[in-house]
């Protein structure tokens, strides 16, 4: 009797989680042998929000997204997608999510329409509903009149939008995009993000990995993953304010490389990085930083044309966080 009750609770309650969250990861970990690809990562994605998952190549972005889609089972920890456990209920998850990878997984030797028919069929669409969804995808992707073109003859932006269309034919409430805009021109990227916003407005939860900073600004929440660890989590504004104890300056001078080298030696200089023709420097616990910078550079005969205190960009935040993480690791090692 007791057993039955427990079973029932599991079915009804699905999991001990709040209903506003589409994706919940708790201490999610994936090891490949000794290599820890994802290291005790925890986060929540609210329904209808765009969650940006950022990090350098090899940081664990794709491994995380694959665990969430039910492709890999976690080594430790747990994750729930749409209320279902990725380790034990991957089939339930698969029919409720859309997934699109950087490779735009279309059949290149099939036509636009054949691709839609195939994926539609796999997701169980048929008859009038398939026609309706097909029409919607073709409109959305701007492929009207190109239905009988082979997929490999389409240019990057169209293929990307067709792939997106094929992955949301079944109107999934949750959409996973693994670096969806890699290798696509800026205009197509912009159009693609318009589609993402549109889907988000319709209540679709979007989990997107990227390494474009401008795309990160479009997200409601951002998680930064670095060597398998989640080292920053919050909205873009929150993250920028997390650097409040630092003052960030943009410096334009005659010799950027030498200037950065000189300033890096100062105790109050936290981090320096190149931004276009100038560089950014974040300073900590120092007064008159502007004057100090000016003084040091002028002493070494570097002509300073501009020093300006700026609001830190997301990139400043990430560089700072990565530096802190590296320092923490080195400290632990020594």
């Amino acid at each position: 009797m007791k057993l039955w009750k427990g079973h029932k609770e599991q079915l009804d309650g699905k999991a001990p989680m709040d209903n506003d969250c589409a994706v919940v990861a708790e201490e999610l970990t994936k090891k490949f042998g000794k290599f820890i690809a994802v290291d005790h990562v925890s986060f929540k994605v609210k329904r209808g929000e765009i969650f940006g998952f950022l990090g350098p190549n090899g940081a664990g972005k794709s491994t995380t997204i694959r665990m969430l889609c039910g492709l890999f089972s976690p080594t430790e920890g747990s994750a729930h997608v749409g209320g279902f456990d990725v380790a034990t209920q991957p089939d339930e998850i698969k029919s409720r999510i859309g997934y699109m990878s950087q490779k735009f997984s279309l059949y290149e030797d099939l036509t636009v329409e054949q691709n839609i028919n195939f994926y539609g069929g796999i997701y169980g669409l048929e008859g009038a509903r398939l026609e309706e969804r097909k029409h919607w995808v073709i409109e959305m992707a701007g492929l009207a009149g190109k239905e009988s073109m082979l997929a490999h003859t389409l240019s990057g932006g169209w293929r990307q939008r067709l792939a997106l269309g094929c992955s949301i034919l079944h109107e999934p409430p949750i959409l996973f995009l693994d670096e969806p805009t890699g290798g696509v021109d800026p205009v197509s990227r912009r159009k693609f993000w318009d589609l993402i916003y549109d889907l988000s407005h319709r209540g679709v939860t979007i989990f997107v990995t990227t390494h474009y900073m401008d795309e990160a600004e479009h997200c409601h929440t951002i998680g930064l993953i670095y060597t398998g660890k989640l080292i920053a989590l919050g909205s873009p504004t929150e993250l920028k304010h997390s650097l409040d104890r630092y003052s960030v300056f943009e410096v334009q001078c005659s010799n950027t490389v030498d200037a950065m080298e000189l300033l890096r030696g100062q105790a109050w200089a936290a981090e320096t990085s190149i931004f276009g023709s100038a560089f950014h420097i974040s300073t900590l616990n120092v007064s008159d930083a502007e004057k100090k910078i000016q003084g040091i550079l002028t002493n070494e005969k570097i002509a300073v044309s501009r020093i300006e205190k700026i609001i830190p960009s997301l990139e400043d935040v990430f560089i700072q966080r990565i530096a802190e993480e590296d320092a923490r690791k080195n400290g632990a090692r020594n």
Binding site: C69, G70, L71, F72, S73, D91, K94, S95, I97, Y99, S101, K103, F104, S105, L106, Y107, E108, D109, L110, Q114, F118, Y119, G121, I122, Y123, G124, L150, S167
Partner: protein, 375 residues
Amino acid sequence: MRNILHIIRKEFLQLRQDKKMFGISFIAPVLQLIILGYAATFDVSNIPTVVCDFDNSPSSRELLRSFTSTGYFTIVEYFDKTSDIDNQLDDGHASIAIIIPRGFEKKIGAGQSAPLQIIADGTETSTAGIGLSYASIIVSQFSQNILLESLIKRGSVTMPARVSAEFRVWYNPELKSRNFMVPGVLGLLLMVMTMLLTSLAIVKEKELGTLEQLVVTPIKPYQLIIGKLAPFFIIGVIDVILVVFFASLVFSLPVKGGALLLLFLSLIFLMTTLGLGLFISTISRTQQQAMMTAIFFFMLPMMFFGGFVFPIENMPTIIQYVSYVIPLRYYFIIVRGLFLKGVGLDILWPQALALFIFGSVILSMSVLRFQKRLE
């Protein structure tokens, strides 16, 4: 079930789109059958022969006539210097040279043994071997006739007693190697079509990333496997029908043991080739890798050790044992048995059973491995 049909339909759409692949699947089998049927022959006839007849006597001319009248030898040129013969063999104009020394007839007349020389080009071992054995038969026949004639001339009253063997060749009375080859081609074709095409079709999806896309959809792994294998199973069946049809139409080689039985046993053989194709797809990342693995590690060894070219009985004992693990070996026995001997399942059941066991083991192990790879 619906998902399986969606995949099969997609597979055929892709096949239709790919004109080359379509040709390979249905036209190549027929072409290959006809080409191999005509060209792949071990029969030796019209061996180009050069002659140096220093004797130039009625006896030497009669000997040469007995060479040409068999049809195995064609005299392309006569020379009167042995050095010319060297040149002819060197540049490959002739494969056999016959040199009859001066005094050939005189020695026969005197009742002495009359030597003659036959030289063969050993670079083509089978032509040389077969040519020489024909030549020795012709020569011994010739000397037997001389013996008989001289006995009759001396007025011997009775002929000496002779042992005479009556030869009958069963199953392939004319000993045509085409009759041996054409059924073999069927096994070879099925192996190439199903094993290679299956592995390529799966690895192609891996390369494109569509396999990963499919794994995120609600498709179950077993549906995916059946959907990917079924089209090539169907192509295999069509190829069997095509080969049977053309073998009887072009080469007058009907399936004596029954076409339906052949089709049924071919289905069992297909289990092994589809299973191997699936297996190859799990160990290859690119289509090139799959192609190379299939050709060098599976198809060539199976072809050589399975008895397509060389009879297994002639192989070293250890290789003969190796051939037992080659499914093609059993299929060749089945196909040749059905085409040439007209035997039935009462004779062929051990081979059928062996194929069935191999097929079940290979296919289920490959399926397990493939499923594990998907996760």
